[in-house]
């Protein structure tokens, strides 16, 4: 039934190769259309796959396994995990093999939809954006940028899809690194700009540093468990192995350690404190890329990873680690929201908002718990307390991808029109860009959690999930998240007001300044589509499709919690309106004057970047890198230089033997022969 599924990986791969190798030979339009058509096909395929996966009734076979489903569900009431193909790539031992395959589970199907939807919209949008951008800047170096851009986008789409359909943790790691490379390439897309180059290096080094822990975690896991597989549904032997490992007191540390190390990798990708520093700088890339990679898809890879491993976390003794994740994420959410309130660059503001929202998802995952006294992991009751966060996180991932992509694409439209990222050059745009205005407003309302927009539902589920965690911990997290929800509303509406209302930069000097105008259809079309999705996504019965153990869960809104968060959001919006809606912003300026240090600290992201700078330059470089470099230069290089020097000297000293004098050679030859003969004579 899913025989065609290999196309999901093959098509973007081919497209990346064709565009990468021959893109420069094509006209821009052709390259763009190829890329867009391929992603369009993927979008259609994903929707079709989702439809077949969730609604099929009947029997089908995949990889020799037969699934008898009713409305997509097996007799036990869960959605099956379908492996459509699984090729052995490397074989380490009989047990430990490295496969590449394609596996469909509820969350991977959901991710397929998220990735292809956003990617498709971004592909269409980029037609307008990249063309405007090229026209606007006329950089000689960007001559072939358009085709290159589409090649990278295809490669990224392939990698991200490969990540979410991974059959094992090693394949996930492989594609994980591939998306890292694509991110690096796309952040440094405007490579003549120094800031872009620095940002791309920073992103690559930080995420790569975190991925080191991921790799170590994988190695721990595979060494002790003996497999790279992590899905408990399709690997029946895995449960026994994990149970034995968790029950062994001497080795009980292994699973929590391995999982937490893997989470550090995820934290790097998902920009958790203190590894978040690369994401704001990643905004140097083209804005559609920020929308696709650094808001909607790649940065949620960490969330996806933790979600994929969640059954192992909660069932095999790593709940403590899960709660650490929750606290790290909660702090990150608060920190990022605080910083976002002070940013001047609208893309950076959105970047911090992304960090904050991803932290929401991780908080939701972190508050998952499993208490065997309340029924088994596979029971429907589990979904109402311990497993709620899983569904909430995935739901928020879905809705967030939509509205954050929308917000980024809107900001891209504004940046193209204004030609700057800074809020000072904006203001009063609502007259000139009505469609963008409405779309941005919808995005803001969605992220702020105002019903009936998408963000409200998912955020409400997250806060409910926090509430479900027993004890002080859960209540504390719930209130932190509610406060952050209020801050989110505040900083998003602050952005909205300074962009679209307030005093217009253009009107201050209409003669000399470029008049803002609405973007072309190819750009506002995707905006409208995403806005429509952001409005309705909340009404999707998400728990029906995705839940911690695969059973049906009916989302119901807990009004006592929802009311609190709505109030928080409304307060945030009201505050933003009060401070920023007018032509002048006396309150904001007054606050800035009253707390100059706080404002400066927030503007400088509370000096975390500087702390890292200090850490790397003053501590790592000085204490580790310099001695290692010294060792490398003097000891290792020295050894080889000595060998080279010795060879050269030896050659130099015996060079004179090669006199070119034939008679001298004859003398040596005869002498040698005579000597050899004498030796032989003595031996006989």
């Amino acid at each position: 039934m899913f025989d065609y599924a290999f196309l999901i990986l093959l098509l973007p791969f081919l497209s990346a190769i064709v565009l990468g190798l021959f893109g420069m030979k094509m006209p821009r339009k052709v390259a763009g259309i190829i890329g867009t058509c391929v992603v369009g096909m993927l979008f259609a395929l994903s929707l079709y796959t989702a439809y077949r996966y969730f609604f099929y009734t009947g029997e089908y076979a995949a990889m020799g396994e037969t699934f008898n489903v009713t409305d997509g569900r097996l007799a036990s009431g869960v959605y099956p995990t379908v492996t459509t193909f699984n090729l052995t790539w490397l074989k380490f031992t009989e047990l430990l093999t490295f496969n590449i395959g394609l596996r469909l589970s509820p969350i991977s199907v959901m991710m397929l939809i998220v990735i292809t939807t956003v990617s498709f919209m971004v592909h269409i949008y980029s037609f307008g954006y990249m063309a405007e951008r090229d026209e606007h800047y006329k950089f000689e170096e960007y001559e072939h940028g358009f085709q290159r851009f589409y090649a990278y986008l295809s490669l990224f789409t392939m990698s991200m899809l490969g990540l979410v359909v991974a059959t094992n943790i090693f394949q996930m790691y492989l594609f994980w690194e591939l998306v890292g490379v694509c991110s690096y390439l796309l952040i440094g897309f405007y490579y003549p700009k120094h800031t872009a180059v620095h940002a791309s290096k920073k992103a690559f080094i930080v995420t790569r540093f975190a991925d080191l822990f991921f790799l170590i975690g994988i190695l721990f896991f595979s060494f002790y468990v003996g497999t790279f597989n992590y899905d408990l549904n399709v690997n029946p032997g895995l449960v026994g192995k994990l149970t034995a490992l968790a029950a062994n007191p001497a080795l009980a540390w292994v699973l929590p350690t391995a999982l937490f190390l893997m989470f550090i990798g995820g934290a790097g990708k998902s920009a958790m404190f203190p590894l978040h520093i690369w994401l704001p700088d990643a905004m140097e890339g083209p804005t559609p890329v920020s929308a696709l990679i650094h808001a909607a898809t790649m940065v949620v890879a960490g969330v996806f990873q933790v979600a994929s491993l969640l059954p192992i976390y909660v069932q095999f003794g790593a709940q403590e680690q899960l709660h650490w994740i929750a606290w790290i994420a909660a702090f990150t959410a608060f920190y990022a929201a605080a910083v976002a309130c002070a940013q001047r660059d609208i893309k950076r503001g959105l970047a911090f908002s992304t960090i904050s929202q991803i932290a929401y998802m991780l908080v939701a995952l972190g508050v998952c718990f499993y208490d065997s006294r309340n029924g088994s992991f596979n029971s429907a009751e589990y979904l109402h307390h311990g497993g709620l966060g899983y569904m909430a996180a995935m739901f928020h991932l879905f809705t967030h991808a939509m509205f954050k992509a929308l917000l980024f694409l809107c900001s891209g439209a504004i940046i193209v029109i204004i030609g700057s990222n800074f809020k000072e050059y904006m203001g009063g745009l609502h007259k000139y860009m009505p469609i963008t205005n409405i779309c941005f407003l919808i995005g803001c309302l969605a992220i702020a959690g105002i019903p009936p927009f998408a963000g409200f539902f998912s955020k409400d589920e997250i806060i409910s999930a926090c509430n479900a965690l027993p004890g002080v911990e859960g209540q504390a997290l719930k209130w932190i998240m509610t406060i952050v929800a209020g801050m989110t509303a505040f900083y998003m509406f602050r952005l909205y007001y300074v962009i679209f209302w307030g005093s217009s930069y253009y009107e201050q000097d209409p003669e000399n300044r470029r008049r803002p105008q609405e973007v072309p259809f190819v750009m506002w079309g995707p905006l409208v589509f995403l806005a429509a999705v952001s409005v309705c996504a909340g009404w999707i019965p998400f728990g029906h499709f995705v839940s911690a153990n695969g059973l049906n869960y009916d989302i119901h809104i807990d009004w006592s919690i929802a009311t609190t968060s709505i109030i928080a959001a409304v307060i945030g919006i009201a505050l933003a309106t009060w401070m920023y809606a007018g032509k002048q912003q006396p309150v904001a300026d007054a606050l800035q004057r009253t707390f100059p240090r706080l404002h400066k600290a927030a503007l400088n992201r509370f000096y975390i970047d500087d702390a890292w700078q200090f850490f790397t330059h003053k501590i790592v470089f000085r204490c580790f890198s310099i001695p290692i470099a010294w060792f490398d230069r003097h000891v290792i290089d020295g050894t080889f230089n000595f060998m080279a020097w010795g060879t050269q000297e030896a050659g130099e000293s015996i060079r004179s033997w090669q006199s070119g004098d034939v008679r001298q050679y004859a003398v040596w030859f005869i002498t040698g022969t005579v000597a050899l003969t004498l030796v032989l004579l003595c031996l006989i």
């Binding site: 002498t671 005579v674 003969t677 004498l678």
Partner: protein
């Protein structure tokens, strides 16, 4: 006994000519002395009743190769061929003499230690067994166990290669000069 006297005479001729050949300062005399050495060696072959080999030695070596040397010497300016030897009692001469003596001593030691050469009794009539041209031809062209057709073919190809090589080497320069 007559053979022994003949051998002695030939040996004296060969060694005396050889010594003269390597010690004279004039190249043409060296070539002439070489001719005498070759004749002496041919005489040895006749003495051993290898008449075919003796004829080959005279016709190819004495007739062909020596002629070639003489032509080569004539083609090369005579002036540069003077002083063709190292100084007598020079460093190199002494070295060469030492090496030659040491080598010869080694050869003698080998001879003295060799059981085969010392103990083999040479039959009286073995020196006068006729080797007919027919046998030589048959053996040269046969592919049997003691046939030499393969080396023969190799030598043929080798000679061809040398002829072509010699021509190319000499022609190459002329072309360059004509350009």
């Amino acid at each position: 006994m007559a053979r022994l006297i003949m051998f002695a005479v030939l040996a004296v001729v060969i060694l005396a000519s050889a010594v003269f050949c390597v010690s004279t300062k004039r190249i043409m005399r060296a070539a002439t002395a070489l001719l005498f050495v070759l004749f002496g060696v041919a005489g040895l072959y006749f003495l051993l009743d290898y008449t075919f080999l003796g004829a080959v030695q005279i016709s190819i070596y004495a007739g062909g190769i020596t002629m070639m040397y003489i032509f080569a010497i004539q083609l090369v300016s005579k002036r540069t061929l003077q002083g063709l030897s190292e100084r007598w009692l020079g460093k190199r001469t002494i070295l060469a003499a030492f090496i030659a003596l040491a080598g010869f001593a080694t050869v003698v030691v080998v001879l003295l230690k060799n059981e085969l050469i010392r103990n083999t009794v040479v039959e009286g009539d073995s020196l006068s067994r006729e080797l007919t041209m027919d046998t030589v031809g048959q053996t040269l062209m046969s592919a049997d166990k003691y046939g030499y057709v393969l080396p023969f073919e190799f030598i043929s190809v080798f000679l061809l290669a040398c002829i072509i090589g010699g021509l190319v080497i000499l022609n190459h320069k002329k072309k360059e000069e004509s350009k």
